[in-house]
C-alpha cells in the first residue's frame, strides 16, 4: 500500500517535470531573442562608452576656459577701475582749480565794485573797469565747466557701478563650472560601470573646483532693484517685530 503511494508521488513529480520541460521549450526562442538582442547592443554600448569617454575628457578643458574667462574679466575690470580712478582724481583736481578760479573771480568783482564806488560821479570809470574785466562772461564759463566736470564725475561713478557685473558674472561662471565638474564626475562613474576605463585629463588640463570657492548660483545683474524692494520690505517688517519684542520685554520686566 505504501509502495503504491510512493509510486504515485513519483509519477506526479515526473508529470511536473514534463510540464516544466514543455514550458522550457516554449521559452527557448524567447531566450534566443534576448541573446541576439544583447549581441546587437554590444557595438551600441561600445559607442556610448566611447562618446562618454570623449565628452568627459573635454569637460576639464571647458572648465579651464570658463575659469580663464573669469580671471581675464577680473584683470580687465581692475584695469578699467585704475583708469576710472585716475580720471576721477584728475577731475577732482580740475574741479578744485575751477572752484578756486570762481572764488578769485568773485574777489575780483568785489574789488571792481569797491573801485567803482570810489568814483560815484564818474560813470566812465565803472564802465572801463567792467568792460576790461568782462567777469560776467568768465563767471558763466567757469560755472558751465564746473557743471561739465560734475557730469563727467557722475559718468565715472556709473562706470564703476556697472563693473559690479564682473562679480555677478564671475559667480554665474563658478556655478556653471561647478555643474559641469559634477557632470564629469557622474559620467566618469557611469563609464566605470559600463566597463570602460576612467577618463584621464590631458596633461595641463586637470581641473578641480576648489572647495573654498563660494558663489550664489542665482546671482543676477538686475538693475530694476526688485530684490532690493523685497529686502527693504522684509527689513522693515523685521524692525517692527524687533521693536515689539523689545516693548514686550520691557513690560515683562516691570
Amino acid at each position: 500500500m505504501e509502495a503504491k503511494t510512493n509510486m504515485q508521488h513519483l509519477f506526479d513529480k515526473l508529470g511536473d517535470l514534463k510540464s516544466f520541460f514543455v514550458y522550457g521549450q516554449k521559452l527557448v526562442p524567447i531566450f534566443q531573442k534576448i541573446i541576439d538582442f544583447m549581441h546587437e547592443t554590444v557595438p551600441l554600448l561600445e559607442n556610448v562608452n566611447q562618446s562618454i569617454q570623449e565628452s568627459t575628457s573635454k569637460i576639464p578643458k571647458a572648465a579651464h576656459q570658463l575659469d580663464n574667462v573669469s580671471s581675464a574679466t577680473e584683470v580687465a575690470t581692475t584695469e578699467i577701475l585704475d583708469v576710472v580712478d585716475g580720471v576721477s582724481n584728475d577731475l577732482q583736481a580740475i574741479q578744485a582749480r575751477l572752484k578756486s578760479l570762481e572764488s578769485k573771480l568773485t574777489a575780483k568783482e568785489e574789488s571792481i565794485a569797491k573801485l567803482v564806488a570810489r568814483y560815484p560821479n564818474d560813470p566812465d570809470v565803472g564802465n572801463i573797469f567792467k568792460t576790461g574785466a568782462n567777469s560776467a562772461a568768465l563767471d558763466d564759463d567757469v560755472n558751465s565747466m564746473i557743471q561739465m566736470v560734475d557730469k563727467i564725475q557722475e559718468g565715472m561713478m556709473n562706470i564703476t557701478l556697472s563693473l559690479q557685473v564682473q562679480d555677478i558674472t564671475a559667480q554665474q561662471l563658478l556655478s556653471v563650472n561647478h555643474m559641469i565638474t559634477s557632470i564629469q564626475s557622474r559620467l566618469s562613474s557611469l563609464l566605470v560601470d559600463l566597463g570602460g576605463k576612467e577618463t584621464k585629463e590631458l596633461p595641463g588640463q586637470e581641473f578641480e573646483l576648489s572647495n573654498n570657492t563660494a558663489f550664489n548660483p542665482d546671482a543676477r545683474y538686475d538693475r530694476n532693484h526688485n530684490h532690493q524692494v523685497l529686502a527693504d520690505t522684509l527689513a522693515a517688517e523685521n524692525s517692527i517685530k524687533t521693536s515689539q519684542k523689545e516693548i514686550d520685554k520691557l513690560f515683562a520686566n516691570k
Partner: protein, 126 residues
Amino acid sequence: MALKFLIVDDSVTMRRIVINSLKTIGHESFVEAADGREAMQKLTVDESINFVITDWNMPEVSGLELVKAVRSNPKLESIPILMVTTRGMKEDIVEALQAKVNNYIVKPFTPQILREKIEAIVITAA
C-alpha cells in the same frame, strides 16, 4: 562720529567699488578683508572699526557666519553690520535678518542706496 568701515568681500573689484561709493558719499576711513575669518581678525585687533559692510558668499568663513560670530562676541555684538550681496531670495534675506544684520543690500547697488542704509543704521543706533 566719523565712521571707520571694514569692507569684507572676496572680490577685489567689489571692495574697490564699495570703497569708491563710500568716498562719493563722504566717507574716508576703510579697512579691507577678503573673507569672514580675516574680518574677525581685523575686528579683534582694530577697535576703531565701527561699521562692517560684508558680502555673503565668501570662501573659508562666509558673511553669514561672520555676522553670527560678531553677534555672539560680547565685545563686538553691537557693531552695525550691513550685508551687500547678490542673494536676493526671500529666504536668504530672512535668514540674514534673523542672524541680526542691521540692513541688507542686493547687488548691484548705487551710492544712494548705500547712503540710505548707512544713515538709517546710524540713526537707529544713535
